[in-house]
Amino acid sequence: MLFGGIDVGSLTAQAVIIQNGSIVASSSIKVKPNPLDSARTVLFTVLEQSGLEKGDLDFTVSTGYGREQVQKEGLSQANVSEISAHGKGAHWLLPSVRTVIDIGGQDAKVIRVSDTGDLDDFVMNDKCAAGTGRFLEVMARTLGVGLEELGPLSFQARNPIELSTRCSIYCETEVLHYLQRGAEKADIAASVNRTMAERVMALVRRVGVGKEVTMTGGVAKNVAVRKELERLLGMRMVEYSVDSQIVGALGAALVAREMGGGR
């Protein structure tokens, strides 16, 4: 049996197809202005990739922005919250993980999962850009570097500066001042990544740290944020072999498998 999961985020959208307990195809695209278009495009991309048609999927579940609309449109048969989806996806990849830190483009969540992969507790920040992917995006734009360069750039820092504020808008002004004074981009990037990790850690503290921790979502790809976060956690985070951005869609596909009566 074939099961599909669709996850529409603020910046990217993903789809995953699973069969017999393994991922047969996954895809990630940049979002379209409308979440329905994103869902449709990413679903048909992943179907095409695997030589399948929509009718071949036994059950599909949507998550993320517009997950209900996506279901109404018939692209999925059910929908699930991003929090449950990330918990499920991470638990399937790493059964012993109890804390999942999911940092997306526009929000940050810390999820505690039980030994069965169910949701125990969570905290979420979607009110303030500090501690979300948007903060890094704004900072990368201000520094004039690509988002994916921001992490590696940190490691070239020799005299990291200290950002005095957490607010993304004030940080932008502060970074501009540093650039005008001739500060090195690497030194600023190091501080940006550290500030980011500190905000995430503040959220983690509110639900507590389980015995094993992992990170999902786009920000998990930033090596410097990971490293700073590990320093603050006092432990290494568990890694896995799939793209950190597909974990939500994977979780949705796993829910589809449960609902669709498959294994």
Partner: protein
Amino acid sequence: MIALGVDVGSLFCKAVLLRGQEMASSGIRETTGNVAREISGFVDEVLASAGVSRSDLSILVSTGTGADLVEGAEFDEDDVACVAMATRHLLPEVGLAVDIGGQSISTVLSDPQGEVLDFMRNDKCASGSGRYLEVMSAALGVPVDRIDETVRKSRKKVSISSQCGVFAESEIVSHVNEGEEVPDILAGLCDSVASMVISQVMRFGGDEDYTVTGGVARIAGVTDMMAERLRGAYHPFPIDPMLGAAYGAALIGLLELEE
């Protein structure tokens, strides 16, 4: 006695020169690159426009986030104290001043002598600050000094649900893309700024008569909404509200000389 008050904010540098109780000259200058050098030239200009030289000055008092960058200051004074002093001097009956600056929002309660009784400040989050308005008006392509005339053309208010400036900026852009009119979005934005400010003022009950200082006080779209929702009466600041703290700094300088 001649006193100069210099207020170095995050976005603008302001100065007020008092000759006795009389405002002899004043100035406002955007701060950009080399702030220390800019301030020095700016101070000279404000002095020159009143025909005063540095040696004529009885006292110079600095305030604001960049107060320590002002050369020749006798001392620096907290901007909250300056705003309180200026308010009680210019509006003796008003005990509450709401200062909305480039990177902070402060509400200051003072006694009739202009001494601070209590205050609240938010300088951690840009929401509602002058910088916030700058970012939003840039996203809409309307200069800050033309916000009011643009809002007057509005027919409705498009409500802004995000509080965070970064998220609000995206929200504004999507409202534009959805075909909403710029004046209507700006009207909604002024409402949203007023709400953020009001939530701080309400910690003091909202019954006190108040005035508003700082750059955002110039925007009627914001102060009108505040006046509509706060029970205390709004007393417009009698001079350019951006000069509030600088004026207070000069007053405190004069008091210092009297003692």
